[in-house]
Amino acid sequence: MLRLIGRRLALAIPLLFVVSIITFVIQSFLPGDVARSLLGVGATPEQYEAFRDALHLNEPVLTQYGIYLGGVFRGDFGTSVYTGQAVLQTIAQRLPVSLSLIIGGTLVSAIIGVTLGVLSATRGRILRRVVDVVSLVGGALPNFWLGLVLSLVFAGALGWFPSTGYVEFERSPQLWAWSLVLPIAALAIAGIGIVAKVTRDQVMTTMRQSFVRTLRAAGVSERSIIWKHALRSSGVPVLTVLGIVFVASLSGTVLVENVFVLPGLGSLAVSSTIRHDIPVIQGIALVFTVIVIIVNLLIDLAYGLINPKVRVS
């Protein structure tokens, strides 16, 4: 187990390095000029050049990257060009919002998806059709479009939920949950469909295996066979899908947070990219990469917990 963790962490370092290089190079090709945007039309040529010098924008891209990397090694991830706020502080302020959304979306996908999958595997054809439809529709509909529709109906027309904004958990747990209902719903629909489908297929396959007949012959209740034995046996593929759902939610937040005006990392990624706020873009890319690495590691560890054979191998 420790060796697995060590190996994964060792691989994470070059991965982070590669991601930061790619992000830096890509953003350097984006059109626009952060110095002009920030200084405005009233800046003198001297002010403009001095500002570009201060931001190292007159240096070659590789030199700029070297300066950035040097700062990272010293624990300095830079400051936002626009707000003057340290990048780590900016991310720390917004990470809880995105994590609430991603973890909430993945949990909802897991709970509803697994329940639907198991029921459709064991309760007949109609439910199987429902899962197929949910899976197809959820996968086909863009989450931002779904978010807009949910917002129009449940916030605009019915007034049940807020259309925009986020309430911190510390301020009001009730309003916090309330502000996340629609965004999580928009994010989770696709996940619910795919998790339900994979769960159904796996449980159906498992239920045809000989150990299930043995359990039935031994007098184990059908509920226990399904929810304890069959589900556990189907766990590895379902976990794999949940990992994919989690990572997909990470990218989904970019659009969903914008639709619901949530102050998370996704909306920050969009605004920072539009404004060429390079230190912030770099910081977000690194945080997203770290989250993906951690989630993959946790899933690998979970495989071992669910299935001892995986642990041995």
């Binding site: 000029d33 002009r36 009233g42 936002s80 707000t83 003057g84 007034g159 009730q174 005006v261 102050p263």
Partner: protein, 515 residues
């Protein structure tokens, strides 16, 4: 059975919780004394040296009080100073006296020298839209509380330039002046509110809390002001309709979706059109001839263009001034000065030696859908007289500034608001104007501007009209339409009105919870 009961109880509790929450999103006013304002863009910066004026002041006014203010009727009234006025009658020297005992929000005493230091730093390092107005102005502390301002050339509106829309005399504390980085995201002014960093998420929510040490206890009608950034126009309206924000600016495309319970106000706020920059014909010789520029002005069907760009919230515009305050320079006699007349346009081109037309390039921001629609329509109309207007699109403001100051492009789309023509002239047409990258010097314009600069109060209106007339007659700029600003506010807010004759709202500090 127990599990099922627990499940039912849980569902019931959830339903009650949801019901309770739903009630809060039903358009009710906030129970605490908080003003919530929705705005479609975050501030470019909270630094007064770079801040945007206009509605951008919603981020600045709470924390940066100015030496003087403009009241709801457009009159200059006391701010940090109670006594002010010109010295002599040449419009070159002005004095004001600060109130005694004022402090910045960080506790530093506000002295005349602090005001001067802040002003000098602003002029030296600022790059915002108003900095250029203050070049050639000098401020000196003549006592602990008294500041004298002198200008190289006569300036009839120094009092207006000391108000909140210009930032140069909204002083910054010495701690703020010492930290360029901090100024972008914190506030260092003398104001009834202070930015609350713990409750502020840059680019998303800006929270201002009452400054208990501010000299005027009545200046803060709320305990807290929250400005929420909601970029999408439809979401902004939805936030107002569902009670999440109380005041918004409304995009014309979604104005009809504002709830009936809100108050919607609209008023002409800006003129906009073709700003011809290459008036000496550096890249396009034809544009140096005023007959050619006049031909362009006669070739435009303004009512149709206004309809394309703004629908019912716009109208044809022919002069670079709005109707309102006399200092803005609006001249009723210029209305109809350029009406669509293709024959006249062709004759003028022929007289100038361009009967077969010519080609020039216009720079515009593609991210602005109004501009994008408009420039296509203008190009099509100019083609009718044989003039090809090629379009150079840039994705954002930074790219636009970059290309604009480069002097490669002969024209752009831009506009002005209701401002004294003395300031508009320095922004658009005088040789050093920001919008004059080729630094063209027009003798008629310069003479009209000099007359305006030295005009007495009685002559200022006619002198301002004189500048507008020169701009129109020589087609230095070719206005196309006048645009309305639309605002909406919930019934929970009192005191929201227009700022004088302008299409801008009054100061956020004038708004109060409804009684």
């Amino acid at each position: 059975m127990k599990r099922r009961t627990a499940l039912v109880a849980g569902m019931a509790a959830l339903a009650l919780t949801l019901g309770g929450c739903a009630a809060t999103g039903d358009g009710a006013a906030p129970a605490d004394s908080t003003l919530t304002v929705g705005f479609n863009t975050p501030p470019a910066s909270l630094d007064p040296l770079r801040a945007a004026n206009g509605q951008g002041r919603w981020y600045m006014d709470p924390a940066y009080m100015s030496v003087l203010q403009v009241d709801n009727d457009g009159n200059v009234i006391a701010g940090l100073s109670e006594e002010w006025g010109y010295v002599g009658d040449d419009n070159k020297t002005f004095r004001f006296t600060l109130r005694d005992g004022l402090e910045f929000s960080d506790g530093e005493a506000l002295t005349a020298q602090a005001v001067v230091d802040s002003f000098e730093y602003f002029v030296e390092n600022g790059s915002g839209p108003t900095r250029a107005y203050f070049l050639g102005m000098t401020a000196t502390a003549v006592s602990d509380l008294e500041v004298e301002i002198t200008t190289e050339t006569p300036n009839p509106i120094i009092d207006i330039m000391l108000t909140q829309d210009y930032f140069a005399f909204s002083p910054i504390s010495s701690a703020g002046l010492a930290d360029d980085n901090a100024r972008a995201g914190q506030t260092f002014g003398v104001g009834p509110y202070v930015l609350d960093l713990d409750a502020t998420i840059p680019d998303s929510v800006y929270t201002y809390t009452k400054n208990e040490d501010y000299f005027d206890e009545d200046a803060a009608a709320y305990e807290t002001i929250e400005v929420r950034v909601i970029p999408d126009a439809a979401q902004l309206v939805q936030a107002l309709n569902t009670g999440q924000v109380e005041v918004i600016q409304v995009d014309a495309n979604v104005a009809d979706t504002v709830s009936d319970s809100a108050t919607v106000m609209s008023r002409l706020a800006a003129w906009s059109g073709l700003v011809i920059t290459d008036r000496e014909g550096v890249n396009v010789p034809a544009l140096a001839d005023e007959r050619v520029r006049q031909a362009l002005a006669f070739a435009l069907d303004r009512p149709a263009l206004a309809e394309v760009a703004l629908g019912e919230y716009g109208e044809a515009g022919v002069q670079a001034a709005l109707e309102g305050d006399p200092t803005w320079g609006f001249d009723p006699e210029l209305e109809g000065f350029y009406e669509l007349d293709l024959d006249k346009a062709k004759d003028l081109l022929a007289e100038a030696g361009y009967a077969d037309g010519f080609t020039f390039t216009l720079l515009y921001q593609s991210a602005n859908p109004t501009e994008a629609n408009l420039v296509q329509a203008i190009a099509a109309q100019l083609q009718e007289i044989g003039v090809t207007m090629e379009l150079k699109a840039v994705p954002d403001f930074g790219a636009w500034v970059n290309d604009f100051v480069s002097g490669q492009y002969s024209a752009t789309i831009f506009g002005g608001v209701g401002l004294p023509q003395y300031l508009n002239a320095q922004f658009f047409w005088t040789p050093q104007a920001i919008m004059n990258p080729y630094q063209v010097s027009d003798p008629d314009l310069n003479a009209a501007f000099d007359t305006l600069a030295s005009a007495s109060a009685d002559d200022a209106a006619e002198a301002a009209r004189g500048v507008t007339r020169v701009v129109a007659e020589k087609a230095l700029t070719i206005p196309v339409y006048n645009q309305e600003n639309i605002f909406a506010h919930a019934s929970t807010v009192d005191g929201f009105t227009w700022l004088g004759d302008s299409g801008l709202p009054n100061s956020i500090l004038s708004w109060k919870p409804s009684s």
